[in-house]
Amino acid sequence: MESLIGLLVAAPLLGALVLLTGGRRLDRAGHWLGTALAATSFVLAVVLFFDLLGRADGDRTLHQHLFSWVPVAGFQADIAFQLDQLSMTFVLLITGVGSLIHLYSVGYMEHDPRRRRFFGYLNLFLAAMLLLVLADNYLLLYAGWEGVGLASYLLIGFWQDRPRAATAAKKAFIVNRVGDIGLSIAIMLMFTTFGTFAFGPVLSSAAETGEGTLTAIGLMLLLAACGKSAQVPLQSWLGDAMEGPTPVSALIHAATMVTAGVYLVVRSGAIFNAAPDAQTVVIVVGAVTLVFGAIVGCAKDDIKKALAGSTMSQIGYMMLAAGLGPIGYAFAIMHLVTHGFFKAGLFLGAGSVMHGMNDEVDMRKYGGLRKYMPVTFITFGLAYLAIIGFPYLSGFFSKDEIIYAGFAKGGTQGWILGSVMLLGAALTAYYMTRIMLLTFFGEKRWQPDAHGHEPHPHESPATMTIPMIVLAIGSVGAGFAFNLNESFAHWLEPVTGLAHGDSPVGHGTVSLAATAVMVIGVGAAYLQYGRRPAPVVAPAGSFVTRAARRDLLQDDFNHAAFVTPGTYLTRGLVYVDHKLVDGVVNGLAAAFGGLSGRLRRVQNGYARSYAVSMFGGAAVLIAVTLLMRAV
């Protein structure tokens, strides 16, 4: 069985290699090959899953040690995999959603000349992501971590001839790199502290380590998580990442990659448990992002950016839950999975809408689409209900559990967290409803685009609708299934541990409150957008709105804080290097040149003046000898 783990990663990796180096002859069948390989690894994942189910709770951890990667004295890094419940969950999510989105892309990218390469990149992403979640040590995880970064870079910038896409891709990679510093420093700290960075020994011996070190490691890990999961303060790239093709946004920037940060935190739970300060910071980051993303989501008119904001805020939920420790880990992952379903579904829906609307992304130019694309409408609607936490859909369960856990943190902290999350829930309901109304309800507001093409909204082909349907089913049913006598939490318990804090408010109350705020949010949105037709051109709006449209000025801040000074610094240094460092050298050279220029005047070529110096020399010699004798 263990040997299958390697195959999980190998299949898509093979696909990537073949598709990227294969050349044009693969153009016709390439996409099917990619999809097939993705499906293969999904099948393998299912097989392994049932194998794990077949085992006893205790030994549901498989290891596969392929070969020693970097053996240097004390520093032993291996290419080795570890499959336990946590990674199993991710593997299923990744391969499952991944395969669906491959299928979807077959239709979505049909007319793109570089479709083969697109699938190559998708496979590459799958391989890297699987490596990330299957690695049994932090260094290998780091490899996968950067691998998904690369894949997302390639996919965001897939339409490279669009300058904005290229810029967005670069931005994403750079910001992630900043996060990666955290991960690498964390690994170095682990190495210096434990002499290893394999999950097993590190996590098992985390407890008997000084809290200071652990806090440092935890914060560094958090930094990495912020980069990858677009948490404040490293969130700025996610919005721009929507430049990429929509399937990419669905797979990478909604369902899987952006949740890697949560995986990292949960995986390193042992460390965080022993470092409460770090946990607090995690919680804060989560809470801030939660609200931040929600606000941004409320203001955007670009449907994908709005969804991106929502992603941010949902991951904020997960992060917060992960920060809560054992009482939150399981639910963080649970919400992660359900979110994977409905957010992927939402994105695919959005993609299908754009597909029908000549890639128009401005929601204000949609309207009344439910008549034209019913399947999209229904699937999108179900996912919508799921995300706003409509009772007994998946979002309802996972989110409520998290909110409950927040209260369960206890004390004022608990109250603060709970209320913040409730506010978040309200905002979620508001912006999702807004999207829903602007897109599918009301009158049609689209006009011919620049080329005078009147968009003809139509339902997408089966390759696109089928995944949407599957995901819709998932987003409806997953939460319920998971929550049956906490099956999901118990499944994860051996890895993450499970605890029930003492909540001041009961379960029912929390659910009730959540539903209430949800209703409020929906109502508010309906009042604003449902009753009267929305203006095609966005109104100026208040300062807050304008700020939110600009992602709450995050880019402006980054620009002012880093980009501009950096540019000036480099310019200055170039000048210094040329004028100062080089100038000294050149000056020296010039000085010598001048000196020799003077000296060569002596060589005037007249034999007689040479004779003069000769006799002079003789005279001096005689004088010296005489002096010598005299002395």
Binding site: V612, A619, I622, A623, L626, R629, A630
Partner: protein, 303 residues
């Protein structure tokens, strides 16, 4: 010869005799004067002669110091051969090529003077320091005869050096011939051929005009005059021309001519007044000669 022996006896003694000192004090200033002359004379020939003089005096000093062989060699080889070589070269290069003593290099003269003084004083100071009053004469060294003594040394201790210098001399001789030898590219033309192509390209077909061939001058360095009185370069030897050693005398010659004509004219005037004596013939003949001469000259040129 007896002079030599007396000098020898002088040298044999361990302190110089008054005779020698007298000789020294007479000859030394002359030697120095010769040296000065060598340095300061404008014409190279004079420098050479001065040098020769100095050398002869030095030869005498050698003799006085008991170096008979060297003294003789000095006179025969140095003064006789080397200096003559110098004079030959001077002749080749131009006897009267007197270089102006005007200094071209800036400050050269001052430096030279300074160095001269410095060097001189230093040397003299050095000698003064080293001077040890008494000295052993060449008595027993020259006992078997100076030449024999030299020979025995030369062919025993210094034989290698001697051979080497021999080789050096040979090389020098060969080198000198190599340097001065000029490779002839084409055969020397015979007189016949020369005249032939003189005719061919019609350049002074007749023999060149003779130099200075007119009244009261016949030096080779004086050009003949054309009828209009201007000198004819052709009439002077090419070498002299090359060295610019043509004596430009035609002006006063012309002046003399006009004076002569003047005189004849006046003489004729008197003759007309007096109308006696046949001296006119001679005069007329002379004048006729002169004119005849000029005509011939002019004729040569024009032809």
């Amino acid at each position: 010869m007896n002079a030599l022996t007396t000098l020898g006896t002088l040298a044999a003694e361990t302190s110089t005799s008054t005779g020698e000192s007298v000789q020294f004090w007479i000859l030394a200033p002359i030697a120095v004067a010769g040296g000065l002359g060598t340095v300061l004379m404008r014409r190279a020939v004079y420098s050479a002669l001065c040098l020769a003089g100095t050398m002869i005096i030095l030869a005498l000093f050698y003799l006085a110091n008991g170096a008979y062989f060297l003294g003789v060699v000095q006179i025969v080889v140095y003064t006789g051969a080397v200096m003559m070589l110098f004079l030959f070269v001077l002749m080749l290069v131009g006897v009267s090529a007197a270089d102006s003593l005007k200094e071209t290099l800036k400050g050269q003269r001052w430096l030279a003077a300074l160095l001269g003084l410095g060097l001189g004083t230093l040397l003299i100071a050095g000698i003064g320091q080293a001077a040890g009053g008494s000295f052993t004469g060449l008595g027993q060294a020259n006992a078997g005869g100076n030449v024999q003594g030299l020979a025995s040394l030369l062919f025993t201790r210094y034989v290698v050096a001697f051979e080497v210098t021999g080789i050096l001399l040979t090389i020098a001789a060969v080198g000198a011939t190599m340097l001065t030898h000029r490779e002839r590219i084409e055969r020397i033309k015979s007189q016949r051929e020369q005249s032939v192509d003189r005719i061919k390209n019609a350049t002074h077909i007749p023999p060149l005009p003779a130099p200075g061939v007119y009244a009261r001058h016949n030096g080779v360095d004086i050009p003949g005059l054309l009828p209009d009185g201007t000198p004819s370069e052709l009439s002077v030897n090419a070498t002299l021309r090359g060295r610019g050693q043509i004596r430009e005398v035609h002006r006063e010659a012309l002046r003399d001519l006009t004076a002569l004509e003047q005189r004849t004219a006046t003489y004729h005037g008197q003759r007309r007044q007096q109308g006696i004596d046949g001296g006119t013939d001679g005069a007329s003949v002379g004048a006729g000669n002169g004119t005849e001469d000029e005509r011939g000259d002019a004729g040569e040129e024009s032809r």
